[in-house]
C-alpha cells in the first residue's frame, strides 16, 4: 500500500491532531465567495422527492466553512462582498499551508494540504456571512444569564479541582478521548477537515451519518414522544418532522457532560435542513437555554454536495495519541522527580 496513504490514515486516527486543528486559531477568518444563503432561494427551488414523498436531502455533504461562529469584533457588517470574501479565503488557505514545514515532524503529521484535507481543497458552499450566528443580529452569542454565569464559574472550579489536563484520562478533552467531537455536536459545525456527512431517507426516518467518530442519528419522523427525562444521551433525544421543504429536528435530553458552548443539559436544539439547490443544503439551528443565555440564538452553515465515500473513522481503536500523551506526562514527572533528587544529594 502507498506510504502516503498510510500516513493519511494515520493522521485521521491521531486525535491529538484533531484537537490541535479544531482549536487552531484562524485569525481574521472570514468567508469565501458566493451567494448569500439566508435569502429566499429555497422558495424558488423545489427539491426532488423520495419515493415516499419526502423532500430528498440524500447524498454526501460537506459543512466545511471558514466563517467563525461569532462575528469578529472588528467586523461591523453582516455580509462581505464577493471580493472581500475571496480575499479572506485566500488568507485562510495561506495560513493553513504555512503550518507545514517540509522535512519536519510537522510535515509527517500535519501536512493537510498534501492530502487534500485542508479547507481550500475541500468542498465548501458559498457563503458571504461574516459569522455563522445570524440571530442576535450582532452575530455574537447572547450574554450569559445569571444562572449561566454561576454555572460557568462552578464548572471552571470543578475543572481546576480535578487537576491538570494530563493528570488523568477523564481530564482530557472529549475529542482527544474519541467520545464526542465538539464540532459535530449536535449542532453540527464544521472543523478543519473530515467534514463529511451522509444523509439517507427511508419511510419514517432520516439518517445522518457523521464521518468523524462514525456518529449516526436515525431520526424518527412519526411524531413519537421524546425519551423520558431521566434518559440522557450525548446526542440527546431527537425527533423530526417536515415543515414544507424543511426537515425540522428537535433535540432534548442532552447531557451536562457535553455542554455545547457552555450550555446546560436542558438546552433545547432545533435544527432545520432545507435543500436550496441541487448542490447546497441550508443548515440552520436555534439554541434555547434560559439556564445559560439571556435569549435564544441561531446560526446557519451552508452544506455543499461532496463526492465521498466516507471512510470508517475508528478513533478510539487507534488512539495512540491519548495513550502517549498520558504516558509522556508520567515520564516527564518521573524525570523531574529524579532530577530534583539528584540536586538534593549530588555525588
Amino acid at each position: 500500500m502507498n506510504h502516503r496513504f498510510l500516513v493519511l490514515v494515520g493522521s485521521l486516527v491521531v486525535p491529538a491532531a484533531v484537537t490541535w486543528l479544531s482549536t487552531m486559531p484562524v485569525a481574521g477568518q472570514t468567508r469565501s465567495a458566493g451567494a448569500r444563503t439566508s435569502g429566499s432561494s429555497a422558495k424558488t427551488y423545489t427539491a426532488p422527492r423520495t419515493p415516499d414523498g419526502q423532500p430528498d436531502l440524500q447524498g454526501i455533504w460537506s459543512n466545511t466553512t471558514i466563517t467563525p461562529l461569532e462575528r469578529p469584533k472588528d467586523v461591523t457588517k453582516e455580509f462581505f462582498t464577493r471580493e472581500e470574501a475571496l480575499e479572506a479565503a485566500k488568507r485562510v488557505a495561506a495560513q493553513e499551508e504555512e503550518q507545514t514545514e517540509p522535512g519536519t515532524v510537522a510535515d509527517v503529521h500535519y501536512d493537510f494540504t498534501q492530502f487534500g484535507l485542508d479547507r481550500s481543497q475541500a468542498a465548501m458552499a458559498l457563503n458571504l456571512r461574516t459569522s455563522l450566528i445570524f440571530d442576535p443580529p450582532d452575530g455574537r452569542l447572547p450574554p450569559l444569564s445569571a444562572e449561566g454565569q454561576r454555572r460557568a464559574a462552578e464548572r471552571a472550579a470543578a475543572r481546576k479541582s480535578r487537576g491538570g489536563l494530563h493528570d488523568a484520562v477523564q481530564n482530557e478533552p472529549l475529542g482527544a478521548r474519541c467520545i464526542l467531537m465538539d464540532r459535530n455536536g449536535p449542532p453540527m459545525l464544521g472543523g478543519a477537515y473530515n467534514n463529511g456527512y451522509q444523509i439517507m431517507q427511508a419511510p419514517g426516518y432520516v439518517m445522518i451519518l457523521t464521518e468523524m467518530l462514525h456518529d449516526v442519528r436515525v431520526i424518527p419522523l412519526d411524531g413519537r414522544p421524546h425519551l423520558p427525562p431521566n434518559v440522557r444521551q450525548w446526542t440527546g433525544s431527537y425527533r423530526g418532522h417536515w415543515e414544507g421543504q424543511t426537515l425540522v429536528v428537535e433535540t432534548t435530553n442532552l447531557t451536562d457532560k457535553f455542554a455545547f458552548q457552555g450550555a446546560s443539559e436542558n438546552m433545547r436544539l432545533t435544527e432545520r435542513f432545507t435543500r436550496v439547490d441541487d448542490d447546497t443544503l441550508r443548515y440552520q439551528f436555534t439554541v434555547e437555554d434560559p439556564a445559560t443565555w439571556t435569549r435564544p440564538w441561531s446560526a446557519e452553515v451552508p452544506w455543499k454536495k461532496d463526492v465521498g465515500p466516507l471512510f470508517e473513522h475508528a478513533c478510539h481503536e487507534g488512539n495512540y495519541g491519548l495513550y502517549n500523551t498520558l504516558a509522556g506526562a508520567r515520564a516527564e514527572e518521573k524525570r523531574a522527580a529524579e532530577e530534583a533528587a539528584k540536586k538534593r544529594s549530588p555525588k
Binding site: V169, Q201, E317
Partner: protein, 268 residues
C-alpha cells in the same frame, strides 16, 4: 379476468419466483417491497441467541469476573455453525485457546472496539437497517458501529478497517453482502474465536416472514481455517412501537480500564 383470479395468479407467480430464486430450497415467503421493487428490510432487528458468548455449542459457565456472579454468567447455547465446530488449522486452534484463556485482557468487546463482521449482527443489542437503492446502511447499537453496503458502484476496500468494506447485490429474495478489507483485530465472540486480515465474509439476508430474517454467513480465511465455514441464525424484528437504537457510546465506560494506570500518582 375476474379480480380475485388475477390476484391469485399474481400471488402464486410471486411464490413460484421466490422458490426458484432461493435455489431450489422451499421458501414460501415473499417480502414486502421497497420503492425500488427490492425486498424491504428496513427496520430494527436483533438476534436472539447466545452466540455472542461462543459461536460453538457451550454449556452455562460462571462469569469470567467473580464479582458479577450469576448476573454475567455465560448463557448456554447451541452452535450456529454448519458442522458444529470451526475448522481451525492446528496452530490457529492453539491461538484460539490462548485467546480464551486471556479473554479478559484480549477481547476487543471489553475495550469498546468496533465489533467487526459477523459479530456485530448477533451481539445482544438491536441494529437498524436503512435501505436505499444505492446504499444499505446497518446501524448497530454496540459502539455506534455502522456499515455502508454499496449496492451500485462496487469498489475495492481503500484500506483495512474494523467493520470491513461491503459490496452488496440482490439475488432474488436475498440480499447478498460481500465484505473484505478487514483488519485482524476483531473476534467472532467472547470465547476468543478469531480471524486474520485475510477474512472474507459473504452474508445472505432473506426474509423468512414479515418479522424474521434468515441470516447466513460464509466465512473464509485461509490463514486461519482449513476451509470456508458457514453460520446461520434468525434475526427478529423489534416490534415495540417505540423501538429505537439508543446511544451506547461505550468509550467512556472503558477509559479507566485502558488508561487508569496512567493516572498521576498523588504527590507526597
Amino acid at each position: 379476468m375476474q379480480k380475485w383470479l388475477k390476484r391469485a395468479l399474481t400471488v402464486s407467480l410471486g411464490l413460484a419466483l421466490a422458490v426458484i430464486s432461493a435455489g431450489g430450497q422451499t421458501r414460501t415467503y415473499r417480502a414486502p417491497r421497497a420503492a425500488d421493487g427490492k425486498p424491504n428490510f428496513n427496520g430494527i432487528w436483533q438476534a436472539l441467541n447466545e452466540a455472542y458468548w461462543d459461536v460453538e455449542a457451550h454449556a452455562a459457565a460462571p462469569s469470567p469476573v467473580l464479582e458479577l456472579g450469576a448476573a454475567h454468567a455465560v448463557a448456554p447455547g447451541l452452535s450456529i455453525i454448519d458442522g458444529a465446530t470451526i475448522p481451525y488449522k492446528p496452530q490457529a486452534l492453539a491461538k484460539k485457546q490462548e485467546n480464551f484463556a486471556n479473554r479478559l485482557k484480549l477481547d476487543p468487546e471489553i475495550k469498546c472496539y468496533l465489533p467487526g463482521v459477523p459479530r456485530a449482527n448477533y451481539m445482544p443489542y438491536p441494529f437498524q437497517v436503512i435501505q436505499g437503492p444505492k446504499y444499505i446502511m446497518m446501524i448497530y447499537t454496540f459502539a455506534g458501529a455502522v456499515r455502508t453496503i454499496y449496492m451500485d458502484a462496487h469498489k475495492e476496500a481503500p484500506a483495512d478497517s474494523w467493520m470491513g468494506w461491503s459490496n452488496g447485490h440482490w439475488d432474488g429474495e436475498t440480499l447478498v453482502v460481500d465484505t473484505t478489507g478487514f483488519n485482524d483485530q476483531t473476534w467472532f465472540d467472547r470465547a476468543g474465536n478469531f480471524h486474520s486480515d485475510a477474512l472474507h465474509v459473504v452474508e445472505r439476508f432473506t426474509a423468512a416472514s414479515r418479522d424474521h430474517l434468515l441470516y447466513e454467513a460464509t466465512i473464509e480465511d485461509p490463514n486461519v481455517f482449513t476451509r470456508p465455514w458457514k453460520i446461520s441464525m434468525l434475526l427478529y424484528r423489534r416490534l415495540e412501537k417505540n423501538a429505537q437504537i439508543m446511544e451506547f457510546r461505550c468509550v467512556e465506560f472503558v477509559e479507566e480500564l485502558i488508561y487508569g494506570h496512567l493516572r498521576k500518582k498523588p504527590s507526597r
